[in-house]
Symmetry: C2
Subunit: 815 residues, 2 copies
């Protein structure tokens, strides 16, 4: 129990469930009819909400937008869940997989009173109802989906496939929560959804809540039948059992047999709730029993679920213009499309609306009649009002350990070689120890590969199937979530964050593109969420990308892609933060900031191989707070004089090459004034008008000069630096080196050379760009080229980099 | 039979399979040992390939890279498949899901002789073997994965999850082909793989080949057990049956019981091949029977598959430094990591290599002994040599209908309003009729939503489960592949293209990001493939993106994302083409070019709503060949004089707004010289040094001027235009409008206004930027602002756009 439910959260002691009586089911039916009425109203009406006068064309909207087909099913399930919530005082969250059924989510929130509480201009009377209808999918109104604007939603369901993962994310560490998730049968064909069925292997029945999947076989998607609805039912049953579930089938053969449908569904739901409780009770028994649960031979629980086979567009027009609509894909969007111009359509719409008998549901003022209103749970038990769906309300700030306790002492810049990720792993271990109930680390089987293994000193990876003696750090319960699915990592984490908790997704840099589109949806969610006063800030989504493009030794070209940053910066600047810490200490400092932040997406890219530490703990903190800085120790500036050239860098490997290039230039071109600038916070490069972190022009011009050549060694695709700096005075002087899609399985320095960001090339670039140098120093230039070729030849001959490069340290004499 | 197998492709008449005899299994075992030996050699050795002298540290590589764990399993399966191919003359293709088992793919190709045929420097003797070993994962050598460099591969398997989809893609329209695909049990946790199991519902047993999935339960991934390996076996069986398969389990309990393992696997394989043949025979019976197969009550076939439970790292070191390695995740990469410095490791490596008894396999010259060599199939039957894996060899150019027959006549620019996608649909229908065996259209349930429904006049959507009376255009066989999984669409298409056929993926623009990472992998594949002389050109991967950001009426913010283009242009310029046809005729012309092209990824973005047609058929063709052009009819230039301002546009909606803005300016500012430039081929904007389609500077400067303001209305994120033009002389004059992540469910013109690309804003931009205009025409400016507000207010009040905007046509008087 998270303590979020206020006073009246007494849970029934009696685990036996009572069958739903006739009266109760009638209440459910009234609620359902009311929700359906309000849904149809949203799609069609701009006035005359209670049909006080005969429906006329001008009462309807000029553009009919929205999706009817999925809506009655969502309403049906919602109404039934309410019965159970009321009876058992269950903390429940509702996730609508087919989020295009937005009218349902909104309708139920209005019926529960939440909508009017949050949006005062949509009152709970006739006028409010008119506004509820008008605003839907209307310019200046609300979107058609279960968007952030919708009370009770944590999942837009616009891009299909993430509902089940979101649901699991919501119940981790929420032992009292049951998340009911309606999964569209079309949605179920998507990869992310298909992978999500295995999520229960990562759910600890003792410490986590439960998910109740309701697979909604309405048979169709936009224009086709669905795979799961058309396979033989026996095969479907095998499939769901194969997923580890115990499926209960509710089949609506006769669309008019409402009573039977209600009875069947209520029974299935009661059974599921009882089984959930039973599983939880068994696993939550007092300590002596919990020993048993951890035994390796203990079978994983078989969680119940419901398969609801009901007609798409149920209760809507049976046929239109002579073609069957109810029970087919034709009901997907707007079944009657010509109500403004076709009298038959208009009449059909009126009949349809009246079929719900609105007079029984609303009084003359448009207020819900008491015998419908009593269908709603109270207060925060209303699914539209649950704080779990507005996670910021429940979020507790993380307790963050002092990162300085983990920082590397740096007697001289660049002398201490450590793995930034291993260092971070120790700090993360302490983050975990201090936050055992609201922080998790997610990763696709790469936590150790990314060198965060120190976290296993205090926690384990969650796993419910068999655990063998040979396994390490696997347990029924733990803070680390590892599954070979980037989609699941992302989906779980989103669900976890939006319900008020914290987390980090650690991933190979290249493969984070797998969740590009999920990131899009989350960034869009945050953009809207931030503007809604009633939505409280949630923890940022933190990506920790390692095993990056320059360190893919075991792999190769397919594992080299630093473009997630490019992808991310297309989203609203207020939401996106990108950090490229050059070493272990800056990584610690950056991560501390990320874990304390809210409502952002933070992208942090860091290497895992031992590499030089440049800044001591205090300097690192300053550097990160500044977001970028001039590294006096690396350059050869003369105080008070402008530099001849700026060597800029962002990213750990480019930083090493840049500092080494500066050293080559210092040795080779005495008197050359080289400024070295390191960028941690990439958004500093943008103009302040474009990004909240943007550096003011004056500062930028001071640091990068207005006319000197800038040789910028960048971690990723060079175009991004041009894109970020195209408004800067000295953008013409900007010469960027980065990853240019050249690579294979080879040595780290060969990778740098293949893409021209190696120290020799950078030094040559400086010689070529500082006026006059090329002529005077062509011998040096030639020497650098020769050394470059030698480095290359060495890799071909010995299969590894030259020792002087592998073990290079910034010359101690100059410090 | 595609006719690709040359002369000796007689298929056995006798469908009864004979059990594999002892002798045959010994041959399989020898092959397996040889492949394993060569695999270990690749990972460890740089010399002394035949162990002619005692193994010393200097014989080993300094950097040990690669993945052993998966490799023996791949070799095992490969050896067994060869037995069946030899016996039955089966056309077979091998897909290695765990493509990190590159050593296996390479080893088998070398054993089959293919490797040396393709790569002469890697001969089939001791010296060749030494080179085979040295080059692996070595600078200047070959990658660690089943990359394009690997003969016989169509699937890199670097980014996991696509093997099964690739396999299905390869067999569509290849009735004689059986693609055997090894699926990693870790890989099976990914979303795309999980979705792929349902692919057989989209495979017509009569006209398509067969896929034989071999689920490789080696129990582990990088650092964890796998879900499928640890669930109770009975549950796994249910799962696979639920997927519609008939699974045959082969379990290797005792890693030393090779004989039993061979016998069990051979038996399972024989059974599977017989069942595949039986299913195909039943479906391919003469015409009278095929009637039966189309009947709706006919159950879909239950295809066989194999579950191979074998130890990860099988035959490798059982334990190292006291820890179990064989049969655990510890064998994933390099089991003995210190052979250079640790004598025990070195000795263990030597024993390991010797355990394969190389003397029995290779003669003193390193040549394969005849009694191993006979394990290889002949010629093109060798899986490493099959032309299906080098699809360019089999590719036949499409027969393309004259697009002019489908083009819209344009009496005056902008007067004919048609839906470009509907127009294209008619042309695509004819493309399909003309290419019934090597062209398919793929889409996630959106073909009709994207308005390509005219294709259904000549073909259907493939579906093997029940077909009901109410269904439209569903059939056992067809050219349209619809499944609600962008991953499957992409994966199938990739497999289809790489085996020599053609296709188009039609998708909502926003959701194409779902396959960002798959696109990455394909673009990377093409980049490498293009440089390999032995790989023949394959058809381009064509994305047709519709229901784009400006036309998301039923949906909203989550469906608005034009960023796939940005993502794509990070890949090698030689591979990427991007087209934004402004109308129906240019769309036709562009698509004609795309379907005729090879080795590209073409991205075409087009609206589906009726919109003005600007250019007649001939002009459209010229415009597309130029890639961009000045539209005299839309501007108000004076021949021989420089314009005062350039209004540029790319994308259909921005084009309408730009032409309308030019009209506003002509009416409001008489004498103002406005040039209108439309860009179809986005890559024309780049410098010619950066992209093969880049416009030479002189041309660019001529068209865009060197110093006049350019108001660029762009379809997508504005930053991309800056990025593409940052090297251009007049980049400072470039003012770009585009999508800035503002949107919701609203009217089309409201969307344009929310993002500032509407005609009024563009005209205001021109007034603000042409020197002197702001002062002189501030009344006009105010009037435009007022009209803009009126347009906005109208949407709020009426829920639709002003009629004068909805039905706007370029003023007829001026033409
Ligand atoms: C990933 C993705 N691809 C495509 C779409 C377009 N789309 C919107 S609704 C829909 C059909 C959904 O079918 P189903 O999940 O069965 O929902 P329901 O039948 O309840 O409407 C599709 C394909 C989408 N929203 N998301
Ligand atoms: C999508 C993706 N995520 C992560 C990885 C990193 N990775 C490489 S191999 C591997 C484990 C693969 O396990 P499995 O499929 O069982 O193959 P096998 O055991 O045969 O090696 C992982 C997670 C990857 N290659 N692709
Ligand atoms: Mg459905
Ligand atoms: Mg495995």
């Amino acid at each position: 129990m998270t303590g979020s439910m206020g006073q009246d959260d007494a849970v029934q002691d009696d685990p036996v469930q009572h069958d739903a009586g006739q009266e109760e089911l009638e209440l459910v039916d009234r609620w359902w009819r009311a929700a359906n009425y309000l849904s149809v109203g949203q799609i069609y009406l701009r006035s005359n909400p209670l049909l006080g006068e005969p429906l006329a064309a001008e009462h309807t909207k000029s553009r009919l937008l929205g999706h009817w087909g999925t809506t009655p099913g969502l309403n049906f399930v919602y109404a039934h869940l309410n019965r159970v919530i009321r009876r058992d005082s269950t903390e429940m969250l509702f996730v609508a997989g087919p989020g295009h059924g937005g009218p349902a989510v909104v309708a139920n929130a209005w019926l529960e009173g939440t909508y009017s509480e949050i949006y005062a201009h949509v009152g709970n009377d006739a006028e409010g109802m008119a506004e509820l209808f008008r605003q839907f999918s209307y310019p200046g109104g609300i979107p058609s989906h279960a968007a952030p604007e919708s009370p009770g939603s944590i999942s837009e369901g616009g891009e299909l496939g993430y509902s089940l993962a979101h649901a699991y994310g919501s119940v981790f560490d929420n032992p009292q929560l049951v998340t009911a998730v309606v999964i569209g049968d079309g949605e179920a064909e998507t990869g992310p959804l298909a992978a999500s069925w295995h999520s229960h292997n990562f759910l600890d029945p003792a410490a986590d809540g439960a998910v109740l999947p309701i697979l909604h076989l309405n048979g169709y998607k936009i224009a086709n039948p669905t795979v799961l609805a058309r396979m033989p039912e026996q095969q479907l049953e095998q499939l769901l059992r194969g997923y580890g579930h115990e499926p209960y089938f509710v089949t609506v053969d006769d669309p008019d047999a409402f009573e039977k449908a209600h009875r069947d569904f209520a029974e299935a739901l009661d059974r599921c709730m009882a089984e959930i409780r039973a599983i939880q009770d068994a696993c939550r028994a007092p300590a002596e029993n919990s020993e048993t649960r951890n035994a390796t031979d203990q079978a994983a629980p078989r969680w119940p679920m419901i398969v609801l086979r009901s007609p798409k567009g149920w209760t809507g027009p049976r046929s239109v213009d002579g073609k069957q609509v109810e029970g087919t894909w034709r009901s997907h969007q707007v079944p009657l499309s010509e109500v403004r111009t076709n009298g038959d359509h208009l009449r059909q719409l009126e009949e349809w609306l009246k079929s719900y008998r609105p007079g029984e549901l609303f009084d003359g003022d448009g207020r819900l009649r008491p015998d419908v209103a009593e269908g709603a749970p109270t207060g925060n038990f209303r699914m539209s009002a649950t704080p779990h769906a507005n996670g910021g309300l429940l979020r507790r700030a993380l307790k963050l350990p002092q990162y300085r306790d983990h920082a590397v002492e740096v007697p001289a810049p660049g002398t201490e070689r450590v793995s930034p990720m291993i260092t971070l792993g120790s700090w993360m271990r302490d983050v975990i120890s201090l936050n055992m109930e609201n922080f998790r680390l997610f990763g696709p089987d790469e936590t150790a590969s990314n060198r965060l293994q120190n976290v296993y000193e205090v926690t384990d990876k969650v796993w419910q199937y068999r655990i063998d003696d040979v396994d390490e750090h696997l347990a029924r319960s733990g803070r680390v979530m590892e599954v070979l699915s980037e989609h699941l990592c992302q989906g779980w984490l989103e669900g976890y964050l939006l319900t008020g908790r914290h987390g980090v997704f650690s991933c190979y840099e290249a493969f984070i593109h797998i969740v590009d589109s999920m990131f899009n949806q989350h960034a869009k969610w945050l953009k809207v969420h931030r503007k809604l006063p009633w939505r409280q800030p949630v923890a940022s989504l933190n990506y920790l990308l390692s095993s990056h493009v320059w360190q893919q030794d075991h792999n190769g070209f397919s594992h080299q892609d630093p473009g997630f940053i490019d992808h991310a910066v297309n989203k609203k600047a207020e939401v996106i933060r990108v950090y490229l810490p050059p070493d272990a200490n800056t990584l610690l400092s950056v991560m501390e900031g990320c874990l304390a932040s809210t409502d952002y997406v933070n992208i942090v890219v860091s290497g895992k191989q031992p590499s030089p530490t440049w800044l001591g703990p205090a300097d690192a903190a300053h550097h990160c707070r500044r977001g970028l800085g001039i590294w006096g120790f690396a350059g050869s500036e003369v105080p008070g004089e402008e530099p001849d050239v700026v060597l800029a860098c962002a990213g750990d490997v480019p930083t090493v090459e840049t500092v080494a290039a500066a050293e080559l230039l210092r040795d080779g071109v005495p008197g050359l004034k080289v400024r070295v600038v390191n960028v941690v916070d990439l958004m500093r490069l943008q103009d302040e008008s474009e990004h909240p972190h943007g550096l003011p022009s004056r500062d930028f011009d001071g640091i990068f000069t207005t006319d000197k050549p800038i040789i910028f060694a960048y971690h990723g695709y060079p175009a991004l630096i041009h894109r970020l700096t195209y408004r800067r005075t000295n953008q013409e002087g900007m010469h960027v080196r980065g990853y240019k899609e050249e690579g294979t399985t080879t040595t780290p320095f060969d990778m740098a050379m293949l893409n021209g960001i190696d120290r020799f090339q950078l030094a040559i670039d400086a010689i070529d760009r500082v006026p006059g140098l090329a002529e005077k120093h062509s011998l040096l230039r030639q020497d650098l080229q020769d050394r470059r070729m030698r480095a290359r030849d060495h890799t071909r001959e010995h299969g590894e980099d030259l020792e002087e490069i592998r073990d290079w340290k910034l010359g101690v004499d100059r410090l």
